[in-house]
Amino acid sequence: MMILGVGLLALIGVSALVIVRTDDVTNQLLGLSFYGLLFALMFFLFQAPDVALSQITVGAIALPLMIMLAITRMKYHSESTHQNKAAPPAREARHD
């Protein structure tokens, strides 16, 4: 059981480095979801079932969902401003 714990902690360390070295934001967020599941497995292995349930719901469902919604919203915003290039919005004049 301790061997499994040692191996899981090493995998967590490697995953953390891989996620911060990834370039694309969508790939990172998939890595973050996997990282959250690794943590849920670690909490279950080290006799912490309450925290494992919390980590599964938050770190593998709610957190990647919010990040994905933010990325999609920024992408839709950039697409719609490219469509509205003929009529520049009135907000731009206040930035100088």
Binding site: G13, A16, I19, L32, Y35, F43, Q55, V58, I67
Partner: protein, 115 residues
Amino acid sequence: MLAHYPYFIAAWVFLCGLYGIVRSRHLVHTVISLAILQTSTYILLLAIGFRKGGYAPIFADIHPGVVTVDPVVQALMLTDVVVEATVVALLLAMVVKAYEKGGTTSPDDLRYMRG
């Protein structure tokens, strides 16, 4: 060496998250690195409270005299998980607004607020 192995992993994950924040070129990448930095505290707390051969501190089917792991640090970790989700939600709202006003997601180019 094995006696302090999880504490080294916690410090390594902390430094990875900090490295990600320092070297990021996209604001959402900064937020994800901050989330990784917050997970290093889970490893530290979990390692402090673990007892070899201990059961989970749920006495629904075991007798209350049995040796268990520490339940106090698990309560701290529950709060920690909630605070991580909250901080990421608020930071993402700020990133979305900064992109809509400034037009860029790179932290180096967000300089539209001059004095």
